[in-house]
């Protein structure tokens, strides 16, 4: 046995800290909760109001716009028909809503952070170990503070999802900015470009393919987390899988899993195709 006296009250400290946070900053968390909920409700209602064929048409349209080929739209249509035929349409739409909101928030946080990380050494020094830590932690752990601060429900599910999905976006944004050819940056400076214009007109556009890769990863991780977050009250496909497992209803769990895969493939391919399209201008490189 490990000696009992040799211990420290971590659990008590963490609980104490969270209690303190909730009592002193409760209003802030409530405000965040309210804001996120408003956005989520609107996206959910918006998606739910659309007829099923229109959602499929929109997604197929996006797929065509991203890839300019007929193959990807066909894959998208097949995936959504599969989901519908499994009787999981409404749940899939709920999961999509959660994922879309989470990715939106992740982009709003992740891209600026990535830019700061690329530009300021101090930010990188602080952020890098945190990102390393975040990416090695099992996703379940993120549920804990989310539940502590926001209770059970959709908002903590989104918060946990954002925290889980944001690191690759931050990293890839930072990488994209750093990979911009230094001579191009120098050229923009030599022509008297201001700091902000340089970021918006040169650095971000050239980093966009990498940022898009970040959004792709972010989307995939968000979809994964949306499933896990059903444990704390997120509705949707994850819930279906979870009840399937709890009741040992393997068929139910498999159907839910299949629908999740179908969604994942769809979003993965569409975001990847957009990433490819953004690199169009690099086409004829061997000419140089």
């Amino acid at each position: 046995m490990f000696p009992e006296g040799f211990s420290w009250p971590l659990e008590k400290w963490v609980n104490g800290f969270l209690d303190w946070l909730v009592t002193t900053h409760g209003h802030t968390f409530e405000a965040i909760n309210w804001g996120v909920l408003q956005v989520l409700i609107r996206v959910e209602r918006g998606l739910a109001a659309l007829p099923w064929w229109l959602i499929i048409a929109i997604m197929a349209g996006l797929a065509w716009h991203a890839s300019r080929s007929w193959r990807l739209p066909l894959l998208v249509i097949a995936s959504f028909l599969l989901i519908g035929s499994l009787g999981l349409w409404a749940m899939a739409v709920q999961s999509m809503a959660l994922m879309i909101v989470a990715v939106l928030i992740a982009v709003l946080i992740g891209v600026p952070l990535g830019v700061l990380m690329a530009e300021l050494r101090a930010v990188e020094l602080v952020l890098r170990p945190i990102l390393d830590l975040m990416q090695t932690m099992p996703p379940f752990v993120y549920l804990v503070p989310a539940v502590m601060l926001f209770g059970l429900g959709k908002v903590p599910a989104i918060v946990a999802t954002v925290i889980y999905a944001v690191p690759p976006l931050v990293r890839l944004t930072s990488l994209g900015i750093k990979l911009v050819d230094s001579e191009v940056i120098e050229a923009s400076q030599a022509f008297g470009t201001g700091r902000m214009a340089q970021l918006l007109k040169v650095q971000l556009p050239l980093a966009l393919p990498n940022i898009m890769a970040g959004i792709n990863q972010c989307t995939m991780m968000a979809l994964g987390m949306v499933v896990i977050a059903s444990m704390i009250g997120a509705r949707g496909l994850g819930e279906h899988v979870l009840t399937g497992i709890q009741r040992l209803d393997v068929g139910k769990a498999v159907a839910g899993g299949l629908a999740i895969v179908a969604l994942a493939v769809t979003f993965d391919r569409i975001t990847q195709a957009y990433g490819q399209r953004l690199m169009r201008y690099r086409q004829v490189q061997d000419n140089v």
Binding site: D181, E183, V184, E186, A187, S188, Q189, A190, F191, G192, T193, G194, A197, K201, V202, P205, L206, Y281, R282, Q283, V284, Q285, N287, V288
Partner: protein, 338 residues
């Protein structure tokens, strides 16, 4: 006063550049300072001036500090010590906003690897400087069309840089630099990345444009033939130190150090030197005439057909000098005038 005046500029790279300055001023070499302090000397007390309308070439091997030097003129690099005046104005005292304005209006730059923006079309690249300056869309388009035509790229306005060959990309770089109508053109090894034939073409393009535009050009190169081909005056840098400045004939005929001597040893003097570079005072001897602008290679057969030598005449056919057979042969064979 010269257009660009660079006085005692030193640039030291490292943790505490100022602490190394005394060593630089004592005249220690780049290697000594690197060994002793771990600092790299980029420029070592460089003083030079560039006149309005001239092509001023800065030449040196890699590591000689030439690219560092050119970036001091538009302050892409800050000197460790020294002063830089453009038009009599101390540009080291310019605020960030003023510096931005100077870069937008007074000087522009052409880069070794072109520095084009891959996500912009040729037309958008050429108009970039005007866009940074805040010119209207119509002005930008008109200037882009005009300069694209001037560098011979009409028809490629909507192409992306990656679709163009190296030579064409640098034409875009040149058009971009000229589109803002700057007084000063900074060209950092602008043609070094091009293959020899294309490089030669670009030198011709530049000289043609220069004949008409009369910009003040600071041109960096490691290629002496290029320096001789386009430079009105040439400065030679070695390990961050300026070792000689002069017209090409002075550099070839009177190299001041062994380093310069080694540099010019391989030059084709028959082509690089003109009759006016080596002529002596007019002599009252009847002899055939050659123009002062003729290269020695052209003068040689004429001189060989004479006993004494040839007369050199200026543009109005007035005699201005005389070249003896010995002098010509010496100049071509050994690069000396005695």
């Amino acid at each position: 006063m010269a257009l660009i005046e660079i006085e005692n500029v030193s640039k030291i790279f490292g943790k505490d550049p100022k602490s190394v300055l005394p060593l630089v001023r004592q005249g220690r070499s780049k290697d000594e300072i690197l060994k002793q302090t771990g600092h790299v000397v980029g420029l070592n007390e460089v003083t030079l001036s560039v006149e309005q309308g001239e092509v001023f070439v800065v030449m040196g091997l890699s590591g000689s500090g030439k690219s560092t030097l050119i970036r001091h003129i538009n302050r892409l690099i800050e000197p460790t010590s020294g002063a830089i005046h453009v038009h009599g104005r101390d540009i080291l005292k310019a605020s960030p906003g003023e510096l931005q304005r100077i870069r937008q209006t007074q000087m522009s730059m052409v880069f070794q690897r072109f520095g084009l923006m891959p996500h912009r079309t040729v037309a958008q690249n050429v108009a970039y400087g005007l866009e940074a300056r805040g010119e209207s869309e119509a002005t930008r388009r008109a200037a882009a069309d005009r300069w694209i035509a001037r560098v011979g790229l009409t028809g490629y306005e909507q192409a992306y840089p990656s679709m163009l060959s190296g030579g064409m990309q640098q034409r875009v770089g040149l058009a971009r630099a000229l589109a803002t109508d700057p007084e000063i053109l900074l060209m950092d090894e602008a043609f070094s990345a091009l293959d020899p034939l294309i490089r030669h073409d670009m030198q011709k393009v530049l000289l043609e444009l220069q004949r008409e535009l009369r910009k003040s050009i600071v041109f960096i190169t490691h290629d002496l033939d290029e320096a001789l081909a386009i430079g009105d005056r040439i400065a030679i840098l070695q390990d961050g130190r300026l070792v000689q400045v002069g017209r090409s004939a002075e550099i070839i005929l009177e190299p001041k150090t062994d380093y310069v001597r080694r540099f010019v040893a391989g030059v084709n003097r028959g082509r690089a030197l003109k009759a006016s570079d080596i002529m002596q005072p007019v002599r009252a001897i009847e002899a055939p005439s050659v123009s002062g602008d003729s290269i020695l290679e052209k003068v040689l057969p004429i001189v060989m057909g004479t006993v004494a030598g040839v007369r050199v005449t200026d543009a109005r056919q007035e005699p201005v000098g005389f070249i003896t057979r010995e002098r010509l042969v010496h100049a071509i064979v050994s690069g000396t005038l005695e």
